[in-house]
């Protein structure tokens, strides 16, 4: 009997959030017939691409046991740079590349600092917290605090149209999933998250890999920015503000543990979809923006709570 109770609790921890969300989705479908249609689902997916791409990038960082709070500001900066360059040089490809490079640079700075001070999770938190302010300031400086409008023509504006964002999103997800699961780098990242000391003693280049993680997060953030800005062909210096929370929420809801060593890109994909669907469902149920914000905060807490509880159960600490 005791083992049954334990398994049930375990199940609840691992899938409880999913179940709760499925219930909400079910409620929404009852409410509105248009909810569970292909068109609506695709629409949701399209709207989730920006956060989704960010979430994929930050997943890699979280698996290694770190966190990156600066990706929201990186999105703002990358967007500004893209639009500025499009306007000034008329060369869309160069603008987009420069934008991605900017994201990579931000990531490199993050990674270099954190690797250099041999930081643990709480250290990466406050360092990227500081970078968040710095990068946001740079975005404000570059844009002069202004909302910038692009030309509205050219390659860049095509990226945001139709199903292209979804393709980019899914393509990136597949690419990163392959990297994480099938390459030495990915394996090292998982190992570093599971036991950083053992990784070091086994000869893994912890410092180099750590720097690379944040570069990936930065690149993904800037790709998200490219997509975001192309839809409206404009950028604002605060466009990414707050998005990092949504991205991290998606990762957490998807089931990747904050402690590192577990989870993956596919799980994040699930988390993104679930949060997107949830947001849409809440809209249909006539729940407005602000209560949704509240719910989002509660979900983050609930997801991590269940994760913490789940790991305590499996390590036998709680013997309920």
């Amino acid at each position: 009997m005791k083992t049954d109770k334990k398994t049930l609790l375990n199940l609840l921890c691992n899938y409880g959030l999913l179940i709760a969300l499925l219930l909400i989705i079910a409620a929404a479908s009852v409410f509105s017939k248009e909810f569970f249609t292909v068109a609506n689902m695709l629409n949701i997916l399209r709207q989730s691409t920006v956060v989704g791409i960010m979430a994929i990038g930050v997943t890699v960082v979280i698996i290694a046991g770190h966190i990156d709070l600066s990706i929201g500001s990186t999105v703002s900066l990358a967007g500004i740079i893209a639009i500025l360059l499009i306007n000034n040089t008329g060369n869309d490809w160069w603008a987009m590349t420069a934008s991605v490079l900017a994201g990579a640079l931000v990531g490199l700075v993050n990674g270099a600092i954190i690797a250099g001070i041999k930081g643990r999770t709480c250290d990466s938190f406050i360092i990227t917290f500081g970078m968040q302010t710095v990068v946001a300031a740079v975005a404000l400086i570059y844009s002069g605090g202004n909302f910038l409008t692009g030309r509205g023509r050219g390659v860049h504006s095509l990226i945001g149209k139709g199903y292209v964002p979804i393709l980019i999103f899914l393509g990136l997800a597949v690419l990163l999933e392959l990297i994480m699961k099938k390459t030495p780098f990915g394996r090292c990242v998982y190992f570093m998250g599971a036991n950083p000391k053992a990784a070091k003693m086994s000869g893994v280049s912890v410092r180099r890999n750590t720097a690379l993680l944040f570069v990936i997060a930065g690149v993904c953030a800037s790709l998200a920015a490219v997509v975001m800005c192309s839809r409206v062909s404009a950028a604002s210096p605060t466009s990414g503000k707050g998005y990092e929370l949504d991205a991290i929420a998606a990762v957490v809801v998807g089931g990747t543990s904050m402690q590192g060593g577990k989870g993956g890109i596919l799980r994040t994909l699930l988390g993104v979809v679930v949060i997107g669907v949830l947001g849409n469902a809440l809209n249909i149920l006539n729940i407005t923006t602000y209560p949704q914000m509240f719910i989002r905060g509660v979900i983050i807490i609930a997801a991590v709570l269940l994760d913490v509880l789940g790991s305590k159960l499996s390590s036998g600490v709680v013997s309920k």
Binding site: P184, K197, M201, G203
Partner: protein
């Protein structure tokens, strides 16, 4: 119940840990007001016994009597209440707080108005320090004072809490001669106050100068208790290491070849003060020494896991600069760490993944794509070769027994194909059967041309497996023993920095 002449008696103590019996029917009786030495090799059981006394562990069998009365010590607070105080090195102080505050931790004194009475507390601390002729300012922050002073603070704290039994674990290991003299004066003073002292040490000098009686532990058993006047130093050493060999170590037929590794003048801050070592192909070099002698720190520096202040290294004749573990691996060196669960394995990962982590490049086709089939094959091969008992290569390592976990760690280094392997206490916490298998493994490794440095605190293991033993004492290489010179007594003497008898 009349008063016994013994302040403390621990009778028939047994303590079992998974796979090993740390204490086997240990009995020790300490007279009131005496200074009683507790001597034994690393792993003989001294710490375990004291932790039971201190309440940190609970005995599986046996009883503890204080002044003839049976007591139950379930936790650290019980021990404190009974007047038992255990002094480790620097473990029990909060470094960011002042000496005074550490003194009164959890029990701060207040003025009549309810305010924390700093001055009053400082005065009390000063009083105790005066008695001890100890000149540290009570207001100093603990992290600012050195190890010796920290030890003094702990002793002072025990005294001020009216401890009846004080256990001192290696109290003079970081003290200068002056400070040792002061400590001894305090001990004399305590003796006069009828405080009982248990003195754990490796320094026979001190045993003979300040202790009244000595108990020797060996392999978790109490060998004998003698009064100081009745025995000599050689007798004690003999009691510590003399044992019948009850394990036949596997034989091997390798003659060590050319020098594959050399280190000169290695210095590691506060731990290693200029060590030279040499390792030959096909050789097992044992590193002996007391706990804290610096062997692990030396090896960690060699392997790039810790900073080396000074020192030069050559691998296979070529000068190398090793700043991190990746470079060490590239120079064909790896290390099996002392704590396999903390630093050797990712416990949640499978056997397979723990093995492959050291050489993922080998599995990467076109340098990028991990060949999972090859990985499984390799892992399977090692499981078979090393006799790793596991339901499968996908099994999470946390579910394996200690011995098998250790085999996984060794397998991972085999997979990386390093030629020089450092083993830090390779058979700690492993049962006899698995130990033997690991010894066989070590033999196979050297027979295949690999070279091994083995840090071990188990004398039989060193004698049985090493071709040569370098003995480290306080960060310095005291000498090397081989062939007929390689005896337990000789190793112990060098490890404890004792003179050779004429």
């Amino acid at each position: 119940m009349g008063k016994s002449e013994y302040a403390l008696e621990m009778i028939g103590i047994d303590k079992l840990f998974p796979g090993v019996k740390a204490l086997d029917n240990v009995t020790i009786q300490v007279k009131k007001g005496e200074v009683h030495a507790l001597v034994g090799e690393n792993g003989a059981g001294k710490s375990t016994l004291m932790k039971i006394l201190n309440g940190a562990y609970r005995a599986d069998k046996g009883e503890i009597l204080l002044e003839g009365e049976r007591v139950s010590i379930q936790n650290v607070n019980d021990a404190k209440r009974l007047g038992i105080s255990l002094i480790f090195q620097e473990m029990n102080l909060i470094p960011t707080l002042s000496v005074t505050e550490n003194f009164f931790l959890g029990d701060l004194k207040k003025t009549r108005l309810g305010k924390v009475d700093w001055r009053g507390m400082e005065r009390e601390v000063e009083k105790v320090f005066e008695q001890m002729d100890f000149t540290v300012n009570p207001g100093s922050i603990v992290s600012d004072i050195n190890v010796a002073e920290k030890q003094m603070v702990e002793i002072a704290r025990a005294i001020s809490k009216n401890a009846k039994i004080i256990v001192m674990d290696e109290p003079t290991s970081s003290l200068t001669e002056n400070e040792v003299a002061k400590l001894f004066a305090i001990i004399e003073h305590l003796r006069g106050q009828q405080v009982t002292i248990l003195y754990i040490t490796h320094k026979l000098d001190e045993v003979f100068s300040i202790c009244d009686r000595v108990t020797v532990l060996r392999d978790g058993q109490s060998v004998d208790t003698k009064a100081i006047g009745e025995i000599g130093r050689q007798d004690i050493i003999e009691m510590m290491v003399g044992r019948s060999v009850d394990m036949d170590y596997p034989r091997r037929s390798v003659r060590p070849g050319e020098v594959v590794f050399q280190a000169k003048g290695v210095r590691v801050r506060n731990k290693v003060y200029g060590i030279d070592i040499q390792l030959r192909r096909g050789e097992v070099l044992g590193l002996a020494g007391l706990v804290g002698a610096g062997r692990t720190e030396l090896c960690e520096a060699i392997i790039g896991a810790a900073p080396m202040q000074k020192g030069e290294m050559w691998v296979k004749g070529r000068r190398v600069r090793i700043r991190n573990t990746t470079q060490a691996k590239r120079s064909s060196m790896g290390m099996v760490t002392e704590e396999r669960k903390e630093t050797g394995l990712a416990l949640d990962f499978s056997v397979e993944r723990n093995i492959s982590i050291t050489n993922l490049k080998r599995l990467a086709r076109c340098g990028v794509y991990l060949d999972k089939k090859q990985e499984a094959q390799a892992a399977g091969a090692y499981v078979e070769q090393l006799g790793i008992r596991t339901p499968g290569i996908r099994q999470r390592v946390v579910n394996l027994s200690g011995g098998n976990q250790q085999k996984v760690v060794i397998a991972k280094w085999l997979f990386s194909d390093v030629d020089i392997l450092i083993l830090d206490e390779p058979t700690r916490g492993i049962d006899v059967g698995a130990k033997f298998e690991i010894y066989q493994l070590i033999n196979r490794l050297v027979e295949a041309g690999k070279s091994i440095i083995m840090i071990s605190s188990e004398m039989p293991e060193l004698l049985g497996m090493a071709d040569r033993v370098a003995v480290i004492h306080n960060g310095v290489n005291k000498g090397e023993l081989t062939g007929d010179n390689l005896t337990a007594q000789a190793v112990m003497r060098l490890a404890m920095d004792e003179e050779v008898p004429d």
